[in-house]
C-alpha cells in the first residue's frame, strides 16, 4: 500500500494490529470455529452412518469428491446443479433477512416452470430471445406472486409464513399435476404427462467453451444483485431494521408490510427463475421432473450461507456437488438415492446446533488470550 495515501493522523501499524486482533478474536470466539466444527461433526456422524451401512466412509468421501469436483465432467455437472440451488437459496435467504422463515422454494420453482412452459405455448413464432425473455419474466412473476402471497398473508393476516409457504408448495405440485394431465398436456407425452416442448430453438444454450447452460449466469447475477440490494442499498438497510426489530421499524415509519412482501416477491421470483431454467435448459417441458428437491436443498443453502447472498454462491456450489455425487454413490456402493438427503439433514441439524457456540459464550473465547495492549 502506498504510505502517502494514509493520513498522518492515523498511524497504520496500530490499526492493522487492531484488525488482526479483532480477526483472531472473531475466529476464536466461535464465529468460524462453530460452523467448521459443525461440518467436521457432520462428516464424522455421516461417516459412522455409512460405516453401519457396510461401506467405508473414506471411500464414500473420496468418491463424493470425485463425483462432485474430481473431473471436468463432474465439475460441470456440479455447476449445473448449483445454478438452481443459488436461485432457490435466495428464495429462503431474502425473506430471512427480514426475519421470515420461508420454505416454499420448491413450490415457487414449480410455478415458475409451469409459467415458462405456458408462455412458450401462447407465444409461438416469436424470436428465441423474445421467447426466452418472456419465459423468464413469466416465471419470475409467477414465482414472485406465489411467495409474495406468503409475505402478504403474513403481513396482513399474521399467518405463519413457514406453514403457508409449505402448504403452497403442495398446492403448486397438485396444480402442476392437474395442468400437465389436462389443459396443458401434450397429447404425445404418454408415459410422463408433460406440456408441449418449448422448441429446440428456444432452449437456453450453453456458455461459450463449456457444457454449462446460461442458468449459472442467472444464478450468479441474481446473487450479486441481491447482495447489492441487501447490503449496499437503502432497501437492504430498511430490511435489516425490520429483521432486527419489526416494531422499532414500524415506529420509525418504515412500511413493514411493503418491505416484507417485496423481499418475499424477489425470493419467489428467484425460485421461479430456477423453474424457467429447468424447463428451458434441461427438460424442454414442464412435468413432474421439476419436483426434484431443489427448493428444499435451497433452504439448507440459505441457512449455511447465513442468509448472505454472496455466500449463497459457494454454498450452492458445494451442495450442488454433493447432489451431483449422489448418482455415483448409488452406482459404486449401492447406497440408496436418499443417502445425500441424510448427509444434508445431518449437516442442517449440526449447523443449527452450532449456533449456540457462536459469539461470546464460546469457551475458547473465555481463555486468556495474549493481550496486544489495551484499547
Amino acid at each position: 500500500m502506498d504510505a502517502s495515501l494514509i493520513p498522518e493522523t492515523t498511524a497504520a501499524p496500530p490499526s492493522a494490529r487492531r484488525i488482526s486482533r479483532a480477526f483472531v478474536a472473531r475466529v476464536l470466539s466461535g464465529h468460524v470455529l462453530a460452523p467448521l466444527g459443525a461440518v467436521v461433526f457432520t462428516l464424522i456422524v455421516f461417516g459412522v452412518f455409512v460405516a453401519l451401512a457396510g461401506v467405508s466412509p473414506l471411500d464414500v468421501y473420496a468418491s463424493m469428491y470425485r463425483g462432485a469436483f474430481g473431473t471436468w465432467f463432474s465439475f460441470q455437472n456440479t455447476l449445473l446443479r448449483a445454478a438452481p440451488l443459488m436461485l432457490t437459496g435466495l428464495c429462503a435467504a431474502l425473506p430471512a433477512r427480514l426475519g421470515l422463515i420461508v420454505i416454499g422454494g420448491e413450490g415457487a420453482l414449480v410455478v415458475g416452470g409451469v409459467s415458462a412452459a405456458a408462455t412458450a405455448m401462447v407465444l409461438q413464432g416469436v424470436s428465441p430471445l423474445t421467447m426466452q425473455l418472456s419465459m423468464a419474466l413469466a416465471a419470475m412473476l409467477g414465482g414472485g406472486a406465489w411467495i409474495g402471497a406468503v409475505g402478504a398473508l403474513r403481513s396482513y393476516r399474521g399467518v405463519n409464513e413457514t406453514i403457508s409457504s409449505l402448504l403452497l408448495t403442495y398446492i403448486a405440485i397438485a396444480l402442476l399435476n392437474h395442468l400437465v394431465e389436462g389443459p396443458l398436456k401434450d397429447p404425445a407425452s404418454l408415459n410422463k404427462p408433460s406440456t408441449p416442448h418449448i422448441g429446440e430453438a428456444n432452449m437456453l444454450g450453453t456458455l461459450p467453451g463449456v457444457d454449462v447452460h446460461w442458468g449459472l449466469v442467472f444464478g450468479v447475477a441474481a446473487c450479486a444483485f441481491s447482495y447489492v440490494l441487501m447490503d449496499r442499498s437503502v432497501f437492504g438497510f430498511a430490511a435489516k431494521i425490520v429483521g432486527g426489530n419489526a416494531r422499532a421499524a414500524r415506529l420509525s415509519g418504515l412500511n413493514v408490510p411493503r418491505l416484507v412482501i417485496l423481499a418475499c416477491f424477489m425470493g419467489g421470483a428467484a425460485a421461479g427463475l430456477a423453474g424457467m431454467v429447468e424447463v428451458s435448459a434441461v427438460h424442454g417441458t414442464a412435468n413432474v421432473s421439476l419436483v426434484a428437491g431443489y427448493g428444499y436443498t435451497g433452504i439448507l443453502v440459505a441457512f449455511l450461507a447465513r442468509h448472505n447472498p454472496l455466500y449463497v454462491m459457494p454454498v450452492a456450489l458445494v451442495l450442488g456437488g454433493i447432489n451431483a455425487s449422489g448418482g455415483l454413490l448409488q452406482r459404486t456402493f449401492g447406497l440408496p438415492d436418499a443417502t445425500v438427503s441424510v448427509l444434508q439433514g445431518i449437516l442442517f441439524v449440526s449447523i443449527l446446533a452450532s449456533e449456540s457456540y457462536r459469539g461470546s459464550e464460546f469457551s475458547l473465547a473465555r481463555l486468556r488470550l495474549p493481550s496486544w495492549g489495551r484499547s
Binding site: I101, I103, L153, S155, Y156, R157, G158, V159, N160, T162, I163, S164, L166, L167, L168, Y170, I171, A174, L175, N177, H178, E181, G182, A246, Y296, I299, L300, F303, P336, D337, A338, T339, V340, S341, V342, Q344, G345, I346, F348, V349, L352, A353, E355, S356, R358, G359, E361
Partner: protein
C-alpha cells in the same frame, strides 16, 4: 354427473365416503395435532413432526414386518417419535437455537433417513393393525366399509378429552400451561422451564410417532416414499385452528380427514377429471383456515404467550 349411478348409492356415496374417509384419514392428523398441542402449550413449536411421522411410519412397518406383530410396530414408532422429540427438545434448549429452523432441519433429516432405511421395506408386506366393524347393522357394503374403525382411532378419540382434562385439571397440566404462558413466572415458582419443554416435546414426538404407525400399518397401509404428503405439517396448522384445545383438535382432524377423502370419494363415483385439483382440498382448507383464524393485529387470545408461531 352422468357417472353417478356407477354405484348403487349414487351421489349419496360421496358423503358416506367422506364420513368413512374422515374416520380413516383423520387418525394421523389427530395424533400429530394432540402431540403438537402438548408441545405448543409448553411454549415451543415443533415443525419437524412431518419428519417424525414419516420416520415413525417406516419404523413401524419395519418392526411389524420383522416381528410379525403390528403392536410392536406401534411401539417402535412411538420410540422413534420420542427420539426425534428428544433431539428437537435438546437442540432448542440450547441458547440462540431457533425452534422453527430446527423443526425444518429435523423434517428434512427424518424424511431423508426414512427413505434411506426404508428402501428394503417397499416390497414386503407387514401385518396390519386390526379394525373393529361398527357397521354390522347395515347391509350396504359402503356403510360397512365406512364404519370399519381402527383401534388407534378410538384410542385417539379417548385421548383428546383425557388430555383436555389433564391440561385443565391436573398439576402437570398447570405446570405445562404456566411454562407456556410465562417462563418467568414458572421460573419464579421454581419450575425448570427447560426440562418441562423438553418432556413436552418428547411427549409430542411419541404421539406423532403413533400417528405415523397408523399410516403404514392401517391406511394407506404400506410403506412407500409418498406415504405422507404434509399431514404432519397440516396437523401443526390445525392446532392453531383448534385454539390449542385437544377436543377441538379432534373435530378439526375429522374435518381435515373428510377434506382429504374428497378426491378419492369423487373419483369413486366417476368424477376423475379434476382428481389432482380435488387433492388440493386439504391444503387449501388448511390455508383458508389459517387465514381466517389468524390476525395481523395481535396473537390469538388462546395462544400460549411464549409461543413464536404467530407474532
Amino acid at each position: 354427473m352422468d357417472a353417478a349411478d356407477a354405484t348403487a348409492l349414487g351421489v349419496w356415496g360421496v358423503p358416506l365416503a367422506l364420513l368413512g374417509g374422515a374416520i380413516r384419514v383423520s387418525t394421523p392428523f389427530l395424533f400429530v395435532s394432540l402431540g403438537e398441542c402438548i408441545t405448543e402449550r409448553s411454549g415451543r413449536v415443533n415443525l419437524g413432526l412431518e419428519g417424525t411421522l414419516v420416520m415413525a411410519a417406516m419404523s413401524a412397518y419395519g418392526a411389524s414386518y420383522l416381528s410379525g406383530s403390528p403392536w410392536l410396530g406401534v411401539l417402535a414408532a412411538g420410540t422413534i417419535g420420542a427420539v426425534f422429540g428428544a433431539l428437537h427438545g435438546f437442540l432448542c434448549g440450547r441458547p440462540r437455537v431457533n425452534d422453527i429452523a430446527v423443526g425444518i432441519a429435523l423434517m428434512l433429516f427424518g424424511i431423508g433417513l426414512a427413505f434411506f432405511l426404508g428402501k428394503p421395506l417397499i416390497q414386503p408386506s407387514a401385518p396390519h393393525l386390526p379394525a373393529i366393524s361398527l357397521g354390522f347393522f347395515s347391509d350396504v357394503p359402503q356403510v360397512r366399509s365406512a364404519l370399519e374403525v381402527n383401534v388407534l382411532f378410538l384410542l385417539g378419540v379417548a385421548l383428546a378429552p383425557a388430555l383436555a382434562w389433564m391440561l385443565s385439571r391436573t398439576r402437570w397440566g398447570l405446570i405445562l400451561r404456566t411454562v407456556g404462558e410465562s417462563a418467568e413466572a414458572a421460573r419464579a415458582l421454581g419450575y425448570d422451564v427447560g426440562s418441562v419443554r423438553f418432556w413436552a416435546t418428547v411427549a409430542g414426538g411419541v404421539l406423532a410417532g403413533i400417528g405415523g404407525s397408523f399410516l403404514s400399518l392401517y391406511y394407506p397401509g404400506s410403506w412407500n416414499e409418498g406415504l405422507s404428503s404434509g399431514q404432519g405439517l397440516m396437523a401443526v396448522a390445525l392446532v392453531i385452528f383448534a385454539r390449542w384445545q385437544p377436543v377441538r383438535c379432534l373435530w378439526a382432524s375429522l374435518l381435515f380427514g373428510g377434506a382429504s377423502a374428497l378426491g378419492p370419494a369423487l373419483q369413486s363415483i366417476g368424477i376423475g377429471s379434476g382428481y389432482y385439483l380435488f387433492n388440493v382440498a386439504p391444503y387449501a382448507l388448511t390455508l383458508v383456515i389459517l387465514v381466517l383464524s389468524s390476525s395481523a393485529a395481535k396473537a390469538a387470545a388462546a395462544q400460549p404467550a411464549e409461543l413464536t408461531i404467530q407474532r
